[in-house]
Each structure stands twice: as structure tokens, then as C-alpha cells.
Symmetry: C2
Subunit: 209 residues, 2 copies
Amino acid sequence: MSGAGGDPVAYHVSKMTDSVKSATRKPGKRERLVTAATRVLHEQGVEKTTLADIAQAAEIPVGNVYYYFKTKDQLIEAAIGAHAQHLHTMTAILEQHAATPQDRLKALVQGWVDQRDLTVSYGCPTGTLCSELGKRADGLDRVAAGVMGLLIDWVERRFAEMGRADSRELAVALVAAYQGISLLTNTFRDPELMTAEGRRLTRWIDSLA
Amino acid sequence: MSGAGGDPVAYHVSKMTDSVKSATRKPGKRERLVTAATRVLHEQGVEKTTLADIAQAAEIPVGNVYYYFKTKDQLIEAAIGAHAQHLHTMTAILEQHAATPQDRLKALVQGWVDQRDLTVSYGCPTGTLCSELGKRADGLDRVAAGVMGLLIDWVERRFAEMGRADSRELAVALVAAYQGISLLTNTFRDPELMTAEGRRLTRWIDSLA
DNA sequence: GTCTATACGTTGATAGAC
DNA sequence: GTCTATCAACGTATAGAC
């Protein structure tokens, strides 16, 4: 890991601490930087994206980035933290709008299908992140893996609630199916691949109930 | 696309042509370069790999690379061609060692499981390539997609031989499952994920027979 | 054909003015 | 806190000696 604010959760805490320390601080800049980074890193990939790309998207001068983040890796880490936050929000909504474990899982799948156009263009945000960072061994790879773990854990809990003893294996299989079809949807630029696999997975979930 | 020798097949043809043109040519250098590129690009990823990395792995001076390839992209293209060649060889062996479509598909799955240690370290060679190049729109992305297409086509033919009308969808699902579990196996550095999914897929193929 | 030297742009990061 | 100017290192690619 590369310094303080090492994990996605700690990032938000340290941000709050800073806000308390100086009341004059504009919270907009840092947040804009992270939001821009999240989007641009997804669109261009981690290794190909420069700080200039992110700074431009956030409408912030390049050199100024270093006031908010000591290194490029720390900015990437914050962007991964934003993914974790987004995932948390999404699963909370799923739990609110669907009652049974099966319905929640099927709603998750439907969400994937609804996102298919973004997947066609850039692949799954978490998946492409893990794919690139998986070739590293500097700590950032573990941070990305953490987000993927959160997703699998959530799915596993739903299968467990359905009374499945093999809930972990089923969760891994469902997320793997999504990651795989995301890759193919992006590779062949064909949203219909995601739609068709969504139908298959929905039937599969029903068959397990 | 970035010039002559635009597709994986044409590469091998142009190589042959060159060999005919000058009998004194050492075929070792170019081939070593492509072999090294194939390995290093898989290990480090496309965007992070420099020509110096590849040249060093091939034990060739950096500047000399440009005698064999006009640009870095053309070397990458040749490496993708090597993947296509390898895939062709592999499927030929599968057809030789297994008789029925089911057995051939199960042998394919077993091959994936046997490769799990490499997947733990660097992910699926074709998959990580497609993931990175999928963010481009310069032609190389289509070349990588071509290799993935070869694999799906081969699988589809086996399902068709089994009499399945939905052979294309099944082929996409099987390859997606492999790509997805490859990503997770690499993300969590856990070969057991691949082993377990291999068992699941083998049972699934049997259930379709 | 093979290799060395080097040009030229870009990148992450720093120093310091305001 | 914000921004500009700039550095040092590295990347691709070229020129040209042998």
C-alpha cells in the first residue's frame, strides 16, 4: 500500500477529518477529481490514463492534482473507493425494492442488463479495473479485489438466505458469469449478448428457488 | 488498422514471403521477438509493457526491434496472431484426443483447469488482451476480438453437433463462464476457484447431452 | 542485417509565485 | 489554497555507422 488513507473506507474518513480541520476548504475540487477519475479510468483504462486526462475532465490544472493526492496511485485508490461506495448504494436500493432473496438477485441481474450500453463501450467498471490491476502486486490490486469481494459477499448472502449450502460457489458462478459476459459484450460491441445472458441467469436463479 | 499484415493470418503469410525473398535471413530473431512479446504482454499487460521490456526478454537490442516491426502496435498484432495460432493448435489436439462433441468440450474445460496457475498469476491470455484492447477503437481491438471469436465459433460447432438449436448462446455462455472465472481466479489469486467452476461446467455439459 | 546513438514528445512529480 | 513553470525520467521512433 502507498501511504495513509490505505483502504476505500479510510479514504472517506480522512476526507471528513480534513474538512473539519479547515472550514474554508472547498470540498468540490477533491470530489470532482475523484468523480472524474472514476469515469476516465473506466473509459480509458488505468495504465493508459494520465493525470492530465483526469485533471482536464475535472477542469482542474494538472499540477494542482498533487495538492489533493500525493501520487497517481492514491488518486486511483480513491476512485476504487468510489466504486465501493457506489456498489454499497446499489445493493441498498436492491434490498429496498425487492423483498425475497431471489427477487433481489434477479434485480441485480436486471441492473446489469440495464447498464449494457456502458458495458458495450467500456466493459464492467469493476471487472476491467481488476483485470488491469491484477497484473500488479503493489497493493492496489488488493484494493480492487476488495470491491469485487464485496459484490460476491452480497450475492452469497442472498443464496444463503435461499437455503443453499453451496451459496459461496453459486455466488462466484453468478458473478463470474456476469464478468465473463461483460467482457464478451465489450469485445464484440454487442449489447444483445448481455440481454440474452441476463435471461439465462434469471431462469437459472428461478430454477434454484 | 496500422498497415500491411493487417490480420493474424496475413502475418504468417508475409513472414513466409520475407523468408523467400532473402535466404540469408535469420528467422530466429523475429520469432523470438514475437514469442517474447506474447509472454510479456500477457504478464504485464499491453499498455504497461514497453518495447524495451519485450526486446530485453527476446535478448535483442531495443532499437533493432524496428527492423522487424514498424510500430509497437504491429508487434502487438503479431503477438495476437501467435495466440490465434496457439488456439488453432490446441483445438486440433482436442479433436484428436476426444471423439464426441461432449468429450471435446469437457477436454477444453479440463485444459482451462490445468492452466489455472498461469491464470492465477496473469489471467486468461486472450481475455486480458481483449479487456485492454476493448478500450481502443484503432483496429487492434478487432484483431483481439477475432481470436475470441475463433474460440466461441469452435465451441458453438461442438454444441451444434450435439443437436442443440441454441448452440450459439450456449457457446457464448460457456466461454463467458471461463472468462469470468479466469478474472476472479486472477483477482483473488485462488486456483481453487477455477477448479470448482471446472467441475460445475463439466456437470453442466453432461446435463445438456 | 545488426546494432548504437540519439531525437523528440510525454509523463509523473516538484518548486515556488500568488 | 490555487495555480504556473518546470524538471528529470522514460517512451517511441529514427538516423546512420558498421
